[in-house]
Each structure stands twice: as structure tokens, then as C-alpha cells.
């Protein structure tokens, strides 16, 4: 199939970016990233610079890939990262617009590559349990209700890709931050640091330039791990409990 692509090209952080039009011949069995590989080979052969984009595992778990496809982070398939999207969902003659995550908290490095180090700083602001190596009790010492543990797991599946931020009209990192807060607060292991954790992580999120949540819900729609927005309500309750007590 023949496709028209309009891809965001930007040489560097301080350079102006623009959408550039390309033509590419794709095969329905290709993944979306393989389609860009084909385009890049074409560009290199023609003496042009290839489109830079982050990618690594290409099986939807590392969270590297980040592109807004026809206005939707990771493209049209629910619960699917861009690397797992296949071209059979497009047809001959389609035009596809590909842009990077656009958010104040994610400065552009080049083309579709952005700087997501803010997420690491949010986790470093208490998104952990303080247990030094060697000091753990036997793993079965604390039974944990299966339902609770499974719910904590649902939040823990976040891959840190940043689609939630890219989809949010406020460029809020609330779903990302709330997922970690909920994962750890639901487990007894995370209980001791529960209050300081939520306050520090939320403060760090604001410091990084992400907006606040106003309940649009776009984040949960695009999340490749389908983490529900109730995480954010949970985070708000945790925050209130922490600052009021």
C-alpha cells in the first residue's frame, strides 16, 4: 500500500520544527515502526537525514516509543503502544500525521525524540519503598489480600511512556504519578512512607512543569496499559489525607 506521511521534523531543541510530507510503500504485516524504518532507509539512500524516534523492545513493554499518530498518542488501537500497531489497520492512499509528544515537561531533542527525564525525577521523589538490600523479611511474612495485590499490579504495569501527558489538554502527568502512588499505597510494604511519598511526588510533578488534572480522561483512553483514571482520584485522596493529618 502507498501511504502519505506528514512527519514532524525538528533539527534540535532550539530549532523551529515543521511537518514534512513523505511517500512510503508499506506492507500490511509491518509494524508501524517498521514502516518508519522503511522510510528511513529510503531517506538515507537519497542523502537525507532519517527521522529520529525512540524505540527499543518493540513489544510494548519498555515504554520507549512515543509518537502521536493522527492526533492520538500511540495511534488508534486501544491498549496498544505504537510499536505493536500494525499497518493492516491502514489502507492504500491513507495520509498519516506523525508528531512527537508535545508538552512543556517533555522538551524536544530531535524530530520525534523528547526528553522524558522528568518522569525519572518524579519517581526519585519518593516513588519507592526504602528497603536496603539484605534487610527484607521472608517474602511470605506478610500475607496480602489477592484482590488488593492484583489491583496494585494494575497500577504497577505503567510503562512510563508519557502518552497520558501527550493526550492531556493540560499536559498533566497525573496518571503517571498516580499509578506509582496507588501501586505502593495499596501494599503494606509501601505504607510507612505513604504520606511523604504522595506529597513529594505531587510537588515534583508540578515543579517539572506538568499541568494539573481537570478530569478530561484522555489519559486513560490512550494508556497502552489501560490504567484507569481512578488512580488520579486515589492520588487526590491520598494527598488530602497526607496534608490534613
Amino acid at each position: 500500500m502507498k501511504l502519505s506521511l506528514k512527519i514532524w521534523r525538528q533539527e534540535g531543541p532550539d530549532k523551529e520544527g515543521r511537518l514534512v510530507r513523505y511517500q512510503v510503500e508499506a506492507n500490511p504485516h509491518m509494524s508501524f515502526l517498521e514502516m518508519i524504518d522503511v522510510l528511513n532507509e529510503q531517506l538515507i539512500k537519497a542523502g537525507e537525514d532519517p527521522v529520529e524516534f525512540d524505540h527499543d523492545c518493540r513489544e510494548g513493554i519498555c515504554g520507549s516509543c512515543n509518537m502521536v499518530i493522527n492526533g492520538v498518542p500511540h495511534g488508534p488501537l486501544r491498549g496498544t503502544a505504537a510499536c505493536q500497531l500494525h499497518m493492516r489497520h491502514y489502507k492504500d492512499g491513507d495520509t498519516i500525521v506523525i508528531e512527537p509528544w508535545l508538552a512543556r515537561g517533555f522538551p524536544i531533542i530531535k524530530d520525534l525524540v523528547v526528553d522524558r527525564s522528568a518522569f525519572d525525577r518524579i519517581i526519585a521523589a519518593g516513588g519507592y519503598v526504602s528497603v536496603d538490600t539484605g534487610s527484607a523479611p521472608d517474602a511470605n511474612a506478610i500475607p496480602i489480600e489477592k484482590v488488593k495485590s492484583d489491583t496494585a499490579f494494575d497500577y504497577a504495569t505503567c510503562i512510563g511512556c508519557g502518552a497520558c501527558v501527550a493526550a492531556c489538554p493540560n499536559a498533566s502527568a497525573s496518571l503517571f504519578t498516580a499509578s506509582k502512588i496507588a501501586h505502593l499505597a495499596l501494599l503494606p510494604q509501601g505504607d510507612a512512607e505513604r504520606k511523604t511519598r504522595v506529597v513529594r511526588m505531587v510537588d515534583q510533578m508540578e515543579k517539572e512543569g506538568f499541568g494539573d488534572c481537570s478530569n478530561h480522561g484522555a489519559c486513560e483512553v490512550v494508556c497502552p496499559k489501560e490504567i484507569p483514571i481512578d488512580a488520579i482520584a486515589f492520588m487526590r485522596r491520598e494527598y488530602m489525607k497526607a496534608v490534613l493529618s
Binding site: 509494524s31 539512500k45 532519517p50 523492545c57 513493554i61 522524558r116 538490600t133 500475607p143
Partner: protein
């Protein structure tokens, strides 16, 4: 060839007591002195993140590096199945001894007894540590941890977190690392690639890195360097490894004097989604657990091109069940993979390209119902459908083996130290624990054992026993190595030939897969060596890398890595050629039993082959570490 015996520094005492004897006698570093030492950790997968966190907790200053944009994205994240531990929570007869024995037998008696025993001993601590960090392992309704049997083990010792065990363990280690970043004890440097090792007065004292955003070279000084950079499966171009996984850091160390051990030991995983076209960029694994309920078959007749559902039972060959009546579809990975290759070579492969076999769930669905199968494998079935566009509930899956893990790696002694003092190698990057074949659910165990529980003690012993004269980054050795690194990058950019990095990588992959893959023979290995040499020459004359060295440039990164793969591939072929026996994942066609199974030659090859770099056109020198089995008697693996 030299037959010098390497000293693995295995502690005295009974197998069961060796690690304790080491702990009792190793030297300690005074807590106040630890902060005077800087340790470099390269790579932030399970081994890297866990060691960086643990060493920082002890008080060392740690600098951690990764090539991804965040430490959390290292390829350990993609491990699906689980992690073994000899907890015996189900009282089904598991012991440290049994975990040890299964691992050393599974490795076809080509691993070091003392290391494997230590691994089994430490396995339980890993589970405790991970759970305390908040890793949400699967639980029973009573609130206690659940286990499953995995990879044909006769006990339930595998802890798991749905199909995302690697992700959850890595996030646990990443959070421990983040805690120490927060505490100011770890400096985390993402998007940095280690280009070389700096050795001063015979000791590893630092590394040269390249900032992958700005292209700047950086010099980092330390008292020890930990390489936690994973495996080299991407030498085959197509593998289940992530696209950024590479051998460069390990290969640079090899060229600085670290020996490379057993490079030919590669694991080919039997259940992966087959290649669909030339554009294919990587392969996706489907968990081994599928073989618990799926039946593997191909048509009996090579000309049978009917859709699978129209092929009657009488025209199907369930070849694993036929050849291995007692293990059937659950034979170990190496055996299952080789048999799939045989039927495909026989012309009986399925799918459009004829390079696949069926994994059929129809019988299980009839017996247990769709709901039960969906509860067990729903996420895997969804993933299969997402990639292939076919519904495995209605049509058998098509699967084929793919490169998944490399058991070989830099040689290390019992302390995890390479042949360069001060250079330690952890996790998949070293060669130590899996012999010639790795069992399922043991890679995560090894990465975390090395990182959380071994290195803190063995590194301390090294620091306490050595002196570290002041070295600054203006030292001549740093300047020299940096200049070599930058010249290499400039050279890659300056060739401006006709063919892209991807084309060279694909060509190399084809040579490797055809000749150094699942089945190897003298003639094929010989021709692989000359073809690789030819391809390497062409690479350095006809490569085309776009862009500059001063901006983000993924093609340039990959060019450097492919250059190293082009050298590694030759050493792998050479190692495979010299090992005139079949063992585990290394199958030499000349050495098989009458029934076509791997035939070891214990008399001549019960050793680790550790290769010392000389120069590329000359012979690398072979050193042998003889493997001595004090407690187990090597036997022929049989799954009939």
C-alpha cells in the same frame, strides 16, 4: 593455542559451604572509607540497577550509565515468564540442591559448579528483597505467594507477575536505584554509551562514554567498573532482544584484555512469532508456558498446502510427541527448537514462507473450554493476534524458534571479576552460570543474584585488597582511549559509501543464522568466517551513515555496534568450530547420537573456552578453565 589454566578463585570447602566460607574470610571496607571510592556501573537492567543501588546503600559513590532515555527501559523489562527460587513454599520437595542440580544439568554440564550452587542458595533472598520493594508477584487467595512449574521442572518454584515478571522486578530495582539517586549516592547518566574501557597500571580505572544527545565524549574515573550490559543476541540481527541491545561495551573490554568465554553458546527459544517479511526488525517471544496446553505439529506430507483446520488428524505429524513420548511438547528449549528446524528443512514448514510450525490449542479448548484457555493465556493470544492478525482460538498459532539469550559472555571468576583486575561483569554479560543452555526463569535469578547479593561482597574484597593511586581524567591513558574512540566515530561517518547500517546488519544476521544458528557444521562455520571477514571489509569501505556526530544520531550509534558485531560473529564461529562436540544450544551436526540428539565429548571438552584477543587477522588465543564436577556426575540428557 595456549592451554593455560585460568584461576577461578573458587573458595575452599564443601560445595554447600563455599559461599559462606568466602563471606567469612573476605576483606571488608571500613564504612567511612567506602565513600572515598567511586564505582562505575554500565547498564541498568536487573544486574546493573540492583548492583548500583546496593553499592550506593553501602556507601560507595556510584555512577550509573545507560543508553536508553531512562534506566527503567533496559531489556530486562521484557522478560515474561518468571523467576526461580528454592523456597519450597509448597512442600513439593524442592531444595537448594535440586535447583542447583536442575540448572547444572539443564546447562548440559558446561557451567561452573560453585557458581551455580551459590546462585541456588541466593535465589530465596531475591524473592524476599523484591517483595519488600513492593513487587506484586502473583498471590493465592490466602494472601501468600503463588508459584508455577515452568520449563519442565518437576517442582513449582517459579514466582511470577502475570506475563510481566521482568518488568515488575526491573521496576523494583529501578526504584531502589531511584532511592539512591534521591539520596545523592548515585549519579544517573542516561543516554550515554560506553565506548571503551580505560586500564591504568593493569587495573580498570574508568570508561569513555559518548553523550548520545550532544555527541560529546566524556571521561569517567573510578576504582572499579561493573559491566552489566546484557547479551549479544542481536549479532543475529533478528532476535527477541531489544533494538538497542548490543555487545559494544563487552567487546571493547575484550579488546582491552578481558577474555571472552564460550561465545558460541546461544539460546534459541522455540516459541516465537515467525518472520513475516524482509522488513522484519525484531522477533517477539511467546511465553514457553504455551507449550503446557498447545500441541506442536506440521503436515506429514510436504506438499500438503491445505489450511490447518482442513488437515485431518491422520495427515498431521505431532513430531515432538512422536519422538519424545515422555516429555512430548515440554522438551527443553534447545531440543524443541532443533526439531522445528528439522521439519522445516524437510519442506514441511507452514505459513506463507514455509518457515514455521503449528502450535495448536484446539484439543485443550475442547477439553477445558475457551474460558479456561483465555484465563491462562489471554494476554499472549491477544498479543499474537495484534501482530499476525490471526485469531489463535480459531486457527493454530504459527511459531518458529528465534535467538533469545546468550549464555556466553566475558569470562569471570567466582568473584565476578574478569581477567582485567577491577573490571567486574554481571548478569547476561558474563558467561558464568548457565553453561551451554539456560533453563527458563533463571536469567532474572542470575541478574539479581549477581547484583543484589554477590557483587557487594566480592567488590568489597577487591577494594580492600588493593590500593588506588589518584587518577584524574586528564591522565594520558584517558586522552589516548578517548582519541581512539572519537577517530572510530569519525571514520564511520567519513566512509559515505552506498549501503546502510541496516543492510550490513541484516547480511551479518543471515550468515550467522544460516551457519552459527541452531545447527552447525564444520563446512558452514568455515564459510561463515570467510563471509564475515568479507562483509567486514566491505562495511569499512562502503558504509553510509547519515547526519553528524554532534547531534542525536541513531544510525551512527548502530553503526558502531554493528562494527563490533562484525568482529564478534567471527569469534563465535571460531569458538563453535573448535568445540567438536554438541552440548546444549551448541549443536554440531557431526556430533550426534544415532537418534539425532546432542552428543557431548566430556573427555575432551569439559572446559570453558576463554578467548584472549590478539589481533583480528591473527588467531585469538584459547585459554581453558577446566570444569571439575565434585558433586554431580555428568550424564547424557534424555527426554525420550
Amino acid at each position: 593455542m595456549s592451554d593455560s589454566i585460568l584461576n577461578a578463585r573458587i573458595p575452599e570447602g564443601r560445595l554447600e559451604d563455599k559461599w559462606q566460607n568466602f563471606l567469612d574470610s573476605c576483606k571488608l571496607v571500613n564504612p567511612n572509607n567506602k565513600r572515598k571510592h567511586t564505582i562505575i556501573v554500565v547498564g541498568t537492567g536487573l544486574a546493573g540497577a540492583s548492583s548500583a543501588a546496593s553499592l550506593a546503600e553501602l556507601g560507595y559513590n556510584v555512577k550509573a550509565f545507560c543508553i536508553q532515555d531512562s534506566a527503567r527501559r533496559a531489556h530486562s523489562i521484557a522478560a515474561q515468564g518468571g523467576i526461580n527460587a528454592a523456597k519450597n513454599y509448597h512442600d513439593d520437595g524442592d531444595t537448594v540442591w535440586r535447583l542447583f542440580y536442575d540448572t547444572i544439568k539443564g546447562g548440559d554440564y558446561r557451567a561452573r559448579e560453585a557458581n551455580v550452587y551459590r546462585l541456588a542458595q541466593i535465589s530465596n533472598n531475591i524473592i524476599d528483597q523484591s517483595v519488600a520493594q513492593g513487587v506484586p508477584f502473583a498471590r493465592e487467595y490466602g494472601g501468600l505467594l503463588a508459584n508455577r512449574s515452568f520449563g519442565g521442572a518437576q517442582v513449582s518454584r517459579t514466582f511470577y507477575a502475570r506475563g510481566q515478571t521482568g518488568q515488575q522486578l526491573l521496576l523494583g530495582a529501578y526504584q531502589a536505584l531511584s532511592k539512591m539517586v534521591d539520596a545523592g549516592k548515585v549519579e544517573m547518566l542516561p543516554r550515554q554509551e560506553m565506548l571503551d574501557l580505560v586500564v591504568i597500571e593493569g587495573k580498570a580505572r574508568g570508561i569513555i562514554t559518548r553523550n548520545l544527545v550532544t555527541g560529546e565524549y566524556e571521561r569517567h574515573v573510578a576504582d572499579a567498573v561493573l559491566l552489566c550490559t546484557g547479551g549479544y543476541g542481536n549479532v543475529f540481527y533478528l532476535s527477541t532482544n531489544a533494538k538497542n541491545s548490543n555487545v559494544t561495551a563487552a567487546w571493547r573490554c575484550y579488546k582491552r584484555g578481558a577474555y571472552f568465554a564460550n561465545p558460541c553458546y546461544t539460546q534459541i527459544h522455540p516459541t516465537c512469532i515467525p518472520v513475516s517479511g524482509d522488513y522484519q526488525s525484531k522477533l517477539t517471544l511467546m511465553s514457553e508456558s504455551l507449550r503446557n496446553d498447545g500441541r506442536v505439529w506440521v503436515p506429514k506430507n510436504a506438499d500438503d498446502k491445505r489450511p490447518p483446520n482442513q488437515i485431518p488428524e491422520s495427515d498431521r505429524d505431532y513430531y515432538l510427541e512422536r519422538r519424545y513420548p515422555s516429555f512430548g511438547n515440554l522438551v527443553p528449549r534447545d531440543v524443541a527448537s532443533r526439531n522445528a528446524k528439522h521439519v522445516v528443512d524437510d519442506g514441511r514448514g507452514v505459513g506463507a514462507r514455509g518457515v514455521a510450525v503449528y502450535l495448536d490449542f484446539a484439543d485443550s479448548i475442547n477439553r477445558l473450554g475457551v474460558d479456561a484457555i483465555s484465563a491462562r493465556y489471554g494476554n499472549l493470544f491477544d498479543m499474537y493476534e495484534r501482530i499476525t492478525g490471526e485469531n489463535p482460538y480459531e486457527k493454530p498459532m504459527r511459531i518458529y524458534p528465534a535467538v533469545h539469550y546468550t549464555m556466553g559472555g566475558l569470562w569471570v571468576d567466582y568473584h565476578l571479576m574478569s581477567t582485567i583486575p577491577g573490571l567486574f561483569v554481571l548478569g547476561e554479560a558474563n558467561f558464568s552460570d548457565h553453561g551451554a543452555n539456560r533453563l527458563g526463569a533463571s536469567a532474572l535469578m542470575q541478574g539479581l543474584s549477581d547484583g543484589y547479593f554477590v557483587i557487594s561482597h566480592t567488590l568489597g574484597d577487591y577494594i580492600a585488597n588493593n590500593s588506588f593511586p589518584d587518577v584524574s581524567d586528564s591522565n594520558e591513558a584517558f586522552a589516548e582511549v578517548e582519541s581512539e574512540s572519537s577517530q572510530r566515530i569519525e571514520k564511520l561517518l567519513s566512509i559515505q559509501g552506498e549501503r546502510t547500517v541496516l543492510e550490513f546488519h541484516r547480511d551479518l544476521g543471515k550468515i550467522m543464522w544460516d551457519n552459527v544458528g541452531m545447527s552447525r557444521n564444520r563446512e558452514g562455520l568455515g564459510s561463515a568466517i570467510s563471509e564475515i571477514q568479507k562483509l567486514r571489509d566491505e562495511f569499512w569501505q562502503n558504509l553510509k551513515v547519515p547526519g553528524q556526530a554532534t547531534t542525536y544520531n541513531k544510525n551512527l550509534e548502530f553503526a558502531g555496534r554493528v562494527a563490533d558485531f562484525l568482529e564478534l560473529g567471527e569469534l563465535m564461529a571460531k569458538d563453535a568450530l573448535h568445540r567438536e562436540e554438541s552440548c546444549g544450544g551448541h549443536f554440531r551436526e557431526e556430533y550426534q547420537t544415532e537418534e539425532g540428539e546432542a552428543l557431548r565429548n566430556d573427555e575432551e571438552f569439559t572446559y570453558v573456552a576463554a578467548w584472549e584477543y590478539s589481533d583480528l587477522n591473527g588467531e585469538s588465543t584459547l585459554h581453558k578453565e577446566n570444569l571439575e564436577f565434585e558433586r554431580v556426575a555428568p550424564s547424557q540428557r534424555s527426554y525420550k
